[in-house]
């Protein structure tokens, strides 16, 4: 089994306060790793380290080693290339103020693709992969903001796919969506498993149980445990995990 991402002794401090403490975890190629835990446990911070969006936060200090395909994401990979390899889907649907087509084509255009035939192919392929194509294929030139929340979120997934990442990280992607849209997003994730490694941060433990292969439990900046999802939800090793999953705190 190949490790897509290897994290060793990762700590993050904001102005001296620890947001993440000595996290070590391996993420396997093409798995879906679910990350659960109460608010302010450092789950989002963890994601922000993986694509180095944390660099944009002025007072954050990052320590530790993070390897993507055995390359250090700080010293061995260029920043812009890393962000193409590790794509992010946010909690709120965040379409760019452009047409549906331009949203998806934004990434490829950034990286040099100009040919309109090539762009159309990419847009179609990515919209199909997130199960959005049928709903929007006749109105690709209309503003993305006219779509419903669930559609916008799937658009954001398409947009991320268009830059051809290898890893996709999701930060509570379904928190604003209705159950039907949520189901569509989860279907897309299962479909994408064949080609991408995915990490899903979610406040909804049941979602993690539905979708992820393994699940990690973060609590107040610490990685409490990580295991096969089935085992995690039936017989977790740590009592804190059990307490969280059974709802004793949250």
């Amino acid at each position: 089994m190949v490790n897509k991402i290897s994290v060793k002794d990762l700590s993050v401090l904001y102005d001296g306060e620890k947001a993440l403490a000595d996290i070590s975890i391996d993420i396997r190629d093409r798995e879906i790793l679910g990350i659960i835990g109460p608010s302010r446990s450092g789950k989002t911070t963890f994601l922000q380290v993986l694509n180095r969006m944390i660099d944009r936060i002025p007072h954050a200090k990052v320590r530790g080693n993070i390897l993507l395909d055995n390359m250090d994401i700080y010293s061995d990979i260029k920043l812009l290339a890393l962000r193409r390899k590790v794509g992010m889907v946010y909690a709120l649907p965040l379409p760019l103020p452009m047409s549906i087509f331009d949203n998806v084509a934004y990434g490829p255009r950034l990286h040099g693709t100009k040919n309109s035939r090539a762009l159309s192919e990419i847009v179609e392929k990515c919209l199909k992969a997130s199960y959005l194509w049928e709903e929007v294929k006749d109105r690709l030139d209309t503003p993305a903001f006219n779509l419903s929340g669930g559609q916008q979120q799937r658009l954001c997934i398409s947009r991320t796919l268009a830059v051809e990442p290898e890893v996709i990280i999701y930060d509570e992607p379904c928190s604003g969506l209705d159950p039907i849209s949520t189901a569509k997003v989860e279907d897309a994730m299962r479909e994408l498993k064949q080609r991408y490694t995915q990490i899903l941060v979610t406040n909804n433990t049941k979602q993690a149980a539905r979708v992820s292969d393994r699940t990690a439990f973060f609590l107040m900046g610490e990685l409490v445990e990580v295991d096969e999802t089935g085992k995690m939800f039936t017989a977790p090793a740590d009592t804190r995990t059990n307490d969280y999953i059974t709802g004793k705190f949250g």
Binding site: R83, L92, L94, L96, M98, G107, H111
Partner: protein
Amino acid sequence: MGNPRTMQKVIFFLLGAATVAVIVPVALIFMLILVHGLQAITPEFIFSAPRAGMTSGGIFPAIVGTLYLVLGTAVFSLPLGILAAIYLTEYAQENWLTRLIDIAIINLAGVPSIVYGLFGVGLFVMLLNFGTSILSGSLTLSIMTLPVIITASKEALNSVPKSFREVSYSLGASRWQTVRNVVLPNAIPGIMTGTILGLSRAAGETAPILFTVAAFYLPFLPRSVYDQVMALPYHIYVLSTQVPNVPVKIQYGTVLVLILIVFIMNISAALIRAKFRKRKMW
């Protein structure tokens, strides 16, 4: 005093009266200018030069001079101001230096226009030896307009939601790519509105051009940036205080032309703002 409701009615009436006392003169002033000035507006007035010691003829050189000065101001202050605003909002770290710049800009905006004129004379006319010229006048007006342009542009740039930038960066865009593709297109209308308003103020200013470019009377149009020009605001000053026996309608006519230019610019800015609000895609 009687019951509170009556008192309220009285006071509110007085408040309204005070407000009307401010607005009515504005309307009266416009009517006055229109009524007296319209008579003077003829093709001859617009397109010919003053004659007979400015007691007849037209104001063409002053109109041209004002347009040149606005152009000159735009050339110097727009690129500098807009790029500086981009620097301050997209590139600079938030620290003591940027806070200092902000304070500096706010204070510059409050400096009396005659002080700019003084600075312009000392630096451009004398020290750099540009003499009284379109160059000196434009540079002086540009420095005066710079804070307005920077402030308006910063506001326009900051009104673009942070999330757009976040998304762009997470897709692997560089800083300039993000600014160029996501931030600027959505800030341009606001920037345009602000800059047009800034330039319309420059068009109407007298004090900064008094000793840096304005000519009392020039029989010919300027041939280079080192020439003086006549300008509408200064011409109004001359006609109303320096030359005796100027017919009233010529004075009002000149005022009307200046007001028209300033208001055309203001209305364009307002139209751009309204049109953009409709077309906004978020």
